[in-house]
Amino acid sequence: MDSFSLLMQGLVTAMQPMILLYALIGVTLGTAVGVLPGIGPALTVALLLPVTYGLDPAGSLIMFAGIYYGGMYGGSTTSILLNTPGESASIVTAIEGNRMAKAGRGGPALATAAIGSFVAGLIATLLLAFLAPQVVKLALTLGPREYFALMVLAFVTVSATFGDSALRGLTSLFIGLALACVGIDGLTGAARLTYGVPQLMDGIETTTLAVALFAIGEALAVAAMLQPPDGMHKIKGSVRMTATDWARSWKAWLRGTFIGFPIGSMPAGGADVASFLSYAAERKLTKHPEEFGTGAIEGVAGPEAANNAAAAGTLVPLLTLGLPTTATAAIMLAGFQQFGLQPGPLLFVMNAELVWGLIAALLIANVMLVILNLPLIGLWIKLLSIPRPWLYGGILLFATLGTIGVNPSPVELGMLILFGVMGYGMRLYGYPVAPVVVGLILGPMAEQQLRRALAIAQGDWTTLVATPVSATLLGISAVFLVVPMLMRLRGRGQVLSQVAGDAD
């Protein structure tokens, strides 16, 4: 039987009322945990695993997949409205999304995130269905040197796109890279910069840093501005997307999908990297560069599509190789094993009905998510009409609870406050905060891949450009780095003077 008729058969399996009910429970729970910072999809699936022991395999796996997709979906809501990203993949969404919300355009921001997630989820699930075996073969040819080249590309494009000044962007990035050095070195097991504090052994938690810099830093900044206490964010215009919004969003959705899916499929990729690259791509390709930094809709549409497409992408190595590349995927793997199924090269052959049922259910879950989320937008944005002191008080509470929820330790709380104050200081002096988080996430990945590549090649640096993929990626990075410099040298005086002016 060909893939298409297998998928149709899967849709018939998935259309049973009970399966639909499991999918509905999954997406509802997933959205809820995505909205709450601190409770991620991984923890939710882990909590539900024993509950599903008595259910049939198809139903519970479909529920897990619903939670996974729902979590990716829900994460955008708090990022956009409260500037409190609940997970690393929705950090970039906060950059443009929250600015849009403050400009009174929270409705369209949430809508483009929801519809973008839907479009990306739909396309990526179909790609999963038809291309999984081919994609995984390709992903396996990539080794540490290719991943290192990909990280370099991400560094160059991302650091150049944040903030108005390259110097300030890079300063922030290097603060992030320095923070990334804290913790146990993954390759030798040596502890770095931990000063004997065991909680620092695993490094600085990304969500703690992100929540501190974004939410706490901003709450402090708002409080320090001494604005009239009754101020609130006004909602301007419709909560729906306008024709222009649609026109500007759809290309970003598609680009996000085609960036997110392959990166999610890579064993060392991930939704966060995908969302950074998508943001960088949108910023480079936009026809409205002046809006970036003040709330450009492409900056929400692209990354949100990318992180959902990447979520579908991670199912490729899970189903075809039994390779869990995220914590959630690892628990889903345990779920498979609970029913005596071993994901791997033989799963598609031995349990075809279940696999295609799962893929079909993902398509259905995706439709349910958009139906569930679009009407909620009107409700969510009412959050913004809460008077500002109350709103920020709530954000502080929410951020603190979320952080202790993940890691119940006073050290974690101390870091939250410390980074919160740092975030306030950076805002005060005009340094962008996003590159700090980017540095913290990408720094260790780049370092480990570089050292692995060199260890495999026994210290031979030419290994980095020895394959066409790595050489091409590094070549593109070099172009991105050098061309703007050359342009400045050729007398773009205003750029130079801006850089000089920033260096005070």
Binding site: G186, G189, P267, P317, A330, Q337
Partner: protein, 314 residues
């Protein structure tokens, strides 16, 4: 509900304290790992079999389990309802991190499960046997890159022991640490490294599908249903097992320890646990009491030696 009633009846019938005790199990790792899996499997079976009325799992991740261990020891002394899951990886982590809290500070109850390590090469590799691999290792230790889990973990220790047994300087081994089994497996399948090492279960499907070749396993005896020699019968005196255990809080009375040990023994004897282990592909290596305490001491001593040899502990 039916299970709960059955459970109460079961507990009453045995006339061990009339009411089943509640437990909180700490998994000193993130959701999704082996310790978390063990804790949640215990939770499920203990509740279903009525060994305990309510079991809660709590995750305290960090530093190879030492963050959780420290917290467990600091806040639960004398509390007989608190359990912690741990394992061989924790032994290594305590040594490499110089953790002030060690396994001496908890009350070990029993070893529950174990995983055997397996050495594999990509199907495309020209290495056919463990002897071929060791020969290459002897000729040039650096040219053999090993993909495995975290530095100082059980995979790393096994490679160190093999090198030592083969007369190769363990500090010269080219061990590439990957986070989690997934990335290491991708590197092996993608032919990025010479060999790979992880638990047998992790490689089983790939070996069946013919994408990897299984060279040897690290158990003392050959494993049923697995067509590979042990490292030992290939002539290198290396036996490694990645075990997982359950321990209780420090400062308990003998009666309290006996009660917990009885509950864990009931868990081990239950049908639900046997089925759970079969589903997850874990081997039951139950060992309790004095025998376990002695084994634990021996493992700690052996691990310390090999970590010094690799150069991870000074």
């Amino acid at each position: 509900m039916k299970h709960a009633i059955l459970g109460v009846a079961f507990a009453a019938a045995l006339a061990v304290p009339a009411f089943a005790q509640d437990y909180t199990i700490m998994a000193p790792a993130n959701p999704g790992g082996g310790w978390d899996g063990t804790a949640r499997a215990m939770q499920e079976v203990m509740q279903a079999e009525g060994i305990a009325k309510s079991v809660e799992v709590m995750n305290v991740p960090g530093a190879g389990g030492t963050v959780g261990l420290a917290q467990f020891v600091a806040s639960n002394a004398g509390d007989p309802t608190k359990l912690i899951v741990g394992g061989y990886v924790m032994v290594g982590a305590i040594l490499t991190n110089g953790s002030p809290v060690t396994l001496k500070d908890v009350t070990p109850i029993a070893r529950l499960t174990g995983d055997t390590e397996a050495i594999v090469v990509p199907a495309a590799s020209d290495i056919q046997t463990l002897e071929d691999l060791v020969e290459k290792l002897r000729a040039d230790p650096g040219s053999v890159s090993w993909a495995g889990g975290s530095a100082g973990g059980v995979d790393h220790i096994a490679v160190g022991l093999l090198a030592k047994a083969a007369g190769v300087d363990p500090t010269k081994i080219n061990y590439i640490a990957f986070s989690g089994g997934g990335e290491a497996m991708a590197a092996i399948l993608g032919n990025q490294v010479t060999a790979g090492i992880s638990s047998v279960g992790e490689f089983q499907e790939q070996v069946k599908a013919g994408t990897m070749r299984l060279l040897a396993v690290s158990s003392a005896e050959r494993l049923p249903g697995i067509d590979a020699p042990t490292i030992k019968e290939s002539g290198y005196d290396v036996v490694v097992e990645n075990w997982r255990m359950v321990a209780a809080a420090p400062g308990l009375s003998d009666e309290q320890v006996a009660k917990i040990s009885a509950d864990i023994e009931k868990l081990n004897a239950s049908e639900g646990w046997t089925k759970m282990l079969a589903d997850r592909g874990w081997t039951n290596t139950y060992l309790a009491g004095e025998a376990f305490a002695a084994q634990l001491d021996a493992d700690i001593a052996a691990t310390e030696t090999v970590l010094r040899d690799i150069g991870l502990v000074q």
